[in-house]
């Protein structure tokens, strides 16, 4: 694929890239920079993308790869730990006050998850990649994705859509 085609496709993929970057870094400034770097690298590697595959999945693999390289580099420099997302910085993100508070609370809980669980949650719960697709992007066995989600689900269970679950139980 030509660089220009990839550049044209990136704006649509950018929200996914940004959220995945946030799930990796847990830090707002790093997320913006990692997102930018991912876009630049994707254009640079445009000829490696095969149109039969998932463009977003390909971008997220690039994102993760850049992040791992930076982590290795950072480890060698023994940098300080990153700041984590301050949920108090969250603005009104939904139409109603109650919804805002609910969304804010959920985002806060997601951001407080361990990095590995957070990335799995972002890919499967939010971006709706299948377990196997998420396993490819994260370069881990599918069972690892499932166990990370299982652990995350325990923390996030209080936010479960009880209505959905109950109605489906009743259907059976």
């Amino acid at each position: 694929m030509k660089p220009r085609s990839v550049r044209d496709m990136l704006p649509r993929a950018l929200p996914s890239i940004w959220r995945f970057a946030l799930s990796l870094t847990g830090d707002i400034e790093m997320t913006n920079d990692l997102s930018q770097s991912t876009c630049l690298r994707a254009v640079e590697k445009a000829d490696q993308f095969r149109s039969a595959g998932s463009f977003e999945g390909w971008c997220l693999q690039i994102c993760r790869s850049i992040w791992l390289n930076e982590l290795r580099s950072r480890a060698s420099r023994q940098d300080k730990a990153f700041a984590t997302v301050d949920v108090d910085q969250l603005p009104d993100i939904a139409p109603g006050i109650e919804q805002n508070l609910f969304a804010r609370e959920i985002i806060s809980k997601v951001m407080a998850l361990p990095d590995a669980q957070r990335s799995a949650v972002e890919l499967v719960f939010v971006q709706q990649f299948t377990y196997s697709e998420a396993a490819v992007i994260l370069d881990v066995p599918i069972g690892t994705v499932m166990s990370r989600l299982h652990a995350a689900r325990k923390v996030l269970r209080k936010y479960a859509d009880v209505t959905l679950g109950e109605s489906r139980k009743e259907q059976k």
């Binding site: 704006p11 929200p15 959220r19 400034e29 930076e70 580099s73 993100i93 499932m146 689900r153 269970r157």
Partner: protein, 247 residues
């Protein structure tokens, strides 16, 4: 191997014994339908998705697009990567608070419509199908809200589906018209039309899976359309083509 929804919910909630849970995990690795069912049943995923999808705001996206995707980006690339490394070291602050101040992207409307539609089951349509007279009134009211003519014969263009109901909903400040269909098996589908926004659907239809449903979206002037339902993207694409030709 078949599993009930109740059993799969128990699996998701960690309430199954290890042997049975392991069996489901193994089956999911080879059975994509089961994997899709489990994902759709997950009661935690929906609320988490709704909350997280509100991020990031438009301001953040525009800033990144400007920085990374402008025509001169290639000249800036090496400089940018160096800056990324520098930021890692220095922890520079770049107005983090402002980065959260955006609103959901305009094209999230497709996800919101798909999520709403995902709550529909066969009974939803069966129990609310309008009579012929009511349907005529509903179409008239929908056309008035939308500010665009809607013709019964055009809405009945998809020959494989039966028109069931039309209702006026709202999406932010704009009207959202939902035209509900059902197929011979009772599976629900819908054509939704809204106005305004800065949708990037374009006049060419684009298809994608959202919230477990196949969707095909397109734009015609100030109006945005999405056809949603089932799991077959080629089917929503075909029906969207039929509707595009007559609407």
């Amino acid at each position: 191997m078949t599993y009930s929804d109740q059993e799969l919910l128990a699996f998701l909630n960690g309430e199954l014994d290890d042997r049975r849970a392991g069996e489901i995990e193994q089956t999911m690795r080879v059975d994509q339908d089961l994997e899709s069912r489990v994902m759709a049943l997950d009661p935690v995923a929906g609320p988490v998705r709704d909350a997280m999808m509100s991020l990031p705001g438009d301001q953040v996206l525009r800033r990144i697009e400007d920085a990374a995707l402008s025509p001169r980006q290639s000249q800036r690339e090496s400089r940018h990567l160096a800056r990324f490394a520098a930021v890692l070291v220095l922890g520079a602050t770049l107005g983090a608070g402002a980065m959260w101040l955006g609103t959901p992207r305009a094209d999230d409307w497709r996800g919101r419509v798909a999520q709403y539609q995902s709550l529909y089951v066969a009974d939803t349509v069966r129990l609310t199908t309008a009579s012929s007279d009511a349907l005529t009134r509903q179409i008239g009211a929908a056309a008035d809200s939308l500010g665009r003519p809607l013709d019964l014969s055009a809405l009945e263009a998809p020959s494989s589906l039966k028109l069931a109901r039309v209702q006026v909903l709202g999406l932010d400040e704009a009207p959202l018209i939902q035209i509900v269909y059902t197929d011979d098996d009772g599976k629900p589908y819908a054509l939704c039309i809204t106005t305004g926004g800065e949708g990037d659907e374009g006049s060419d239809a684009s298809s994608e899976m959202l919230h477990g449903l196949a969707t095909t979206a397109w734009q015609d002037g100030d109006f945005r359309f999405i056809f949603v339902g089932g799991e077959d993207l080629s089917k929503t694409g075909r029906i969207a083509d039929q509707l595009k030709a007559v609407l």
